[in-house]
């Protein structure tokens, strides 16, 4: 799944959106339940994202919104549909205290910035509050309260993948070169 809406994340300037607050240990089963994985059409599958956690999330989210979460975001199954569907629905970035390992790899690989924020990011935001954020350097600001969180910069290796929209466009260029 690499289709996304027309909105484009800016790596140079500021991005804006609303915050969606989630807790600790949000699993890939929470993001997209295993019982729906037989659905291969992205639009149809995306209607079930965060079902039972956030009412009508797929219908309410706006392009550029961000998820703000606690520890171990994306734990569980290796299903890449989890970050891919969030990106497909318009999530601009996810800011969490920590990410589960496979989810982190998958997120970077599909071009969704996953930003690890040290400190209590969860208590500084409410769902629906406006945020302003940048990717390089990774900064998240609550537009209402002015609270600001800065993360460690992405290693150049990751940033390069993100700027290309994921690892597949890079692989594609690589394979084309070899021909």
């Amino acid at each position: 799944m690499t289709t996304t809406r027309a909105w484009k994340l800016s790596f140079e300037g500021k991005n804006q959106g609303s915050a969606w607050l989630l807790g600790n240990d949000v699993s890939t089963d929470d993001i997209i339940s295993g019982k729906y994985l037989e659905i291969r059409e992205v639009d149809a599958l995306s209607k079930h994202v965060l079902e039972g956690i956030v009412l009508d999330f797929p219908f309410k989210i706006k392009a550029g919104d961000v998820i703000v979460a606690g520890d171990n975001f994306g734990c569980g199954s290796s299903r890449e549909q989890a970050p891919a569907l969030l990106k497909h629905l318009g999530v601009g970035s996810i800011f969490a205290k920590s990410f589960a390992r496979i989810f982190f790899r998958n997120g970077i690989n599909i071009g969704l910035p996953l930003i690890t924020i040290p400190g209590d990011v969860v208590s500084a935001f409410k769902t629906g509050e406006k945020v302003v954020y940048t990717i390089d350097p990774p900064v998240l600001e609550n537009a209402t309260s002015g609270k600001r969180f800065q993360a460690l910069a992405f290693p150049a290796f990751f940033l390069n993948i993100l700027r290309h929209g994921g690892a597949i466009p890079l692989l594609k260029a690589d394979l084309a070169k070899k021909k």
Binding site: G34, K35, E51, S77, R101, I102, I168, K172, A176
Partner: protein, 418 residues
Amino acid sequence: MPGTIVEKLLNNHLVQGTCEVGEIVECKVDLLMLHEMLGDQIARIAREAGLTKVWDPAKIVTVLDHWVPAPTEKVAIIHQEYRRFVKDYGLVHDLGINAGVCHVVVPDSGFIKPGMLVVGSDSHTTSYGALNCISTGIGATDATIILAKGTNWFKVPSTIKIELEGKFQQLVTAKDVALHMLKMFGTDGMNYKSMEILVQRPESISISGRFTIANLGVEMGAKCVAFEPDKLLDAWLATIGISGYKTVLPEKKAAYERRESIGLDTIEPLIAVPPSPSNVKPVSEIKNKDVDQVFIGSCTNGRLDDLQLAASILKGNKIHQRVRCIIIPASRQVYETALKEGLIEQFVHAGAIVEYPTCGPCMGGHMGLLGPGEVCVSTSNRNFPGRMGARDAEIYLASPATAMASAITGKITDPREV
């Protein structure tokens, strides 16, 4: 200097970078395991990337296991896509639909040797670490990159060392010590880290039990789990005809982030209470909890000795009339041996439902999903809300002994009380 098993192994496979904790390195992969994700996503991504041939068809093993046989037309199409890819790209090691659950059939078929670097399109790929190798789960894009190049990037993890001492009390199993570790470390205590395990008395934990522990490592967030080699490993590899391998021991000066030891004799039957695999309590503390369904199977606990243990608890008893007891041998080989040993007959005669090898209900696929509010005792690996059907169904994770004891009484039951 690389000192822990994971550091030495990544160093042995190094293409680019310096093998120091925290560094990102590029490594050669010895084996790539792919399941239904191949038919669902990887084939599409590979074609989109313009992949015309894979790096080495001999180093790729494929298997259909999550939905076997296809429960719906949609899944049948996923299986068709998988078969088309296997044929088009000449993947020679296709185990197809008739072998069983990947994490049981891949090692049992002789694909895994000590010292290898293995990746698989499934989070429970950590299982193969039971055989003294490095083995980790990845997603569809990573799998596609490896299909093309045979390499990928890895962050060199720090290592937590665990020594398992003594031996189990009766009816306490490897699943119980894994649940004990989940309680110790939580669902993210091993995140981005490697777990290295020394079994002080080799015979105290079977290779099957070590698969169960390595399997559940990912529920603590572990990147990989590496058991130290011993005589039990050599004997197990000999039974499936593997020779000419080189085991990997940690260096005496290896630097560990933390060391723990666990006395196996101090562990009692444990159970993970929803909604988290780390919410672990003694089974004896759960009183009067009625059970609607029991599932014995999965990559965690669907091996022959798991079924033998369940049968030994069952003896002449019947399954409680309220309980749907679903038993799924994790591979065709396990199924056939269980048939020969009379286990399947015992299960069916007692009122259990025995199904063909598949991941099935563990991932909410098919063959026994849960309705609203239902309670299930499962030998599988995850009890997240909605994992096996309705979001408010309750999944309790336990050993095959506890699961069968609960199937007999109709309540969550300590196996020592049956």
